[in-house]
């Protein structure tokens, strides 16, 4: 019963407390083509008050964006990010994995201690691997929650990211050069 499987996928996604990968869905919904079921469900909910979306390979139901005004009432406002926080988040999203020094090189200013903490506390940024460079600095990257929170299917949905990458503007080597010029200038002083 194909339809039975689609029902199962629907129920599992509804019950889930977080976005689910296809594998996670399969482990609960049992045998059947999960992708086919997801595609059908996505179509079925199109234009409804609820929609099925994929974020970074994870699937979830959420309310339709155009109904936001009805639902926002009574809810706590999302804590507003500082300008530095927004900028830092964008830089990490475009350049990940990226070190703190590289973030500072792009912004041309030191990053306040709290800025990265706030992003990590929100669950949007996580420490990633250490860079294989002198001092082995820690790098930072975005999380699946970042994609989900901002409604991104993947990082490729970030505007212009492919162009920037093609232009070589997202290369760590390029950033390192900027950093170097800043440091050299400081030492010249």
């Amino acid at each position: 019963m194909n339809d039975q499987h689609e029902r199962a996928v629907e129920a599992v996604l509804f019950a889930a407390t977080e976005p689910l990968t296809v594998d996670a869905i399969r482990s609960h919904a049992g045998d059947g083509d999960v992708r086919v079921a997801l595609a059908r469900l996505k179509g079925r909910y199109r234009g409804r008050g609820i929609e099925l979306v994929e974020r970074g390979g994870r699937w979830q139901f959420q309310t339709a964006p155009d109904l936001a005004h009805l639902l926002r009432r009574d809810r706590d406002e999302i804590r507003k990010l500082s300008r530095a926080g927004i900028e830092t988040l964008a830089i990490i999203a475009y350049h990940e994995p990226v070190t703190r020094a590289e973030i500072e090189a792009i912004r041309g200013v030191q990053t306040a201690r709290g800025t990265l903490d706030v992003l990590m506390e929100a669950g949007w940024v996580r420490p990633a691997a250490r860079r294989d460079a002198p001092g082995r600095p820690l790098t930072f990257a975005t999380t699946p929650e970042f994609l989900s929170h901002f409604g991104l299917g993947s990082r490729r949905d970030l505007p212009g990211i492919d162009d920037l990458r093609a232009a070589g503007l997202l290369e760590p080597a390029d950033l390192a050069f900027d950093e170097l010029t800043v440091v050299n200038q400081r030492e010249d002083d």
Binding site: V12, A16, F61, Q62, P65, A68, E77, G108, V109, P159
Partner: protein, 244 residues
Amino acid sequence: MNGVPEQLTLDLDGFEGPLDLLLSLARAQKVDLREISILDLVEQYLAHIDEARVLQLDVAADYLVMAAWLAYLKSALLLPREPEVEQDADDLALRLQMRLERLELMRQAGDWLVARDRIGRDVFTRGAPEGLHVVRKAFWSVEYYDLLSAYGRATARSRPVLHLVPDREVVTLEVALTRLAALLGTVPDWRAIEHFLPVVHGAALRRSALASSFVAALELARQGRADLRQDGPFSPLYLRRTTV
């Protein structure tokens, strides 16, 4: 109280570092960042900093560092055209322009991000999800053999250990000593030790008799009652009563 410096202080405070100030000045030129006049930009920036200096304001070190670097860039750009130097200055100017462009792009991306349909603000996930639960059932596995050998192992640690040594016929040192002392009195001259051994049956008992008699001979020699002689290693051992 002078109103003007305060205003200017605020002016600089409003910027997040020198790059931010440069970007704002560049935006004021109202052209695409790629078309920007770096020279104009540099002069505006330096004028800004100079003004702050004239007014004896504290200018953060970052801004001064950038000012020094821009002053260098300006002079390099204005230098008479020497092929290598010119190339270098143009390259630096291009890099500065690219840095500004990238910062601008990141700013726009940040604005774009926060304007997205965000969960908890614009879209909402299910308010009361039932949740998915994975119940882990542990199945413990033990083989019967492991159970039994574990019992042996465990009980062996606390069971009183009893070592049984099977009874074995031996010629004790006491017997050998008494016999040898008595026999020595009857033999006046050197005799091999075998001569003094009791007649026993079995190779093991014979070895025992030899060993005990040998030790007995050593004991008598220590007491000064017997002399021992051996011509070389493993050659026959001779005994006789000590002659006074």
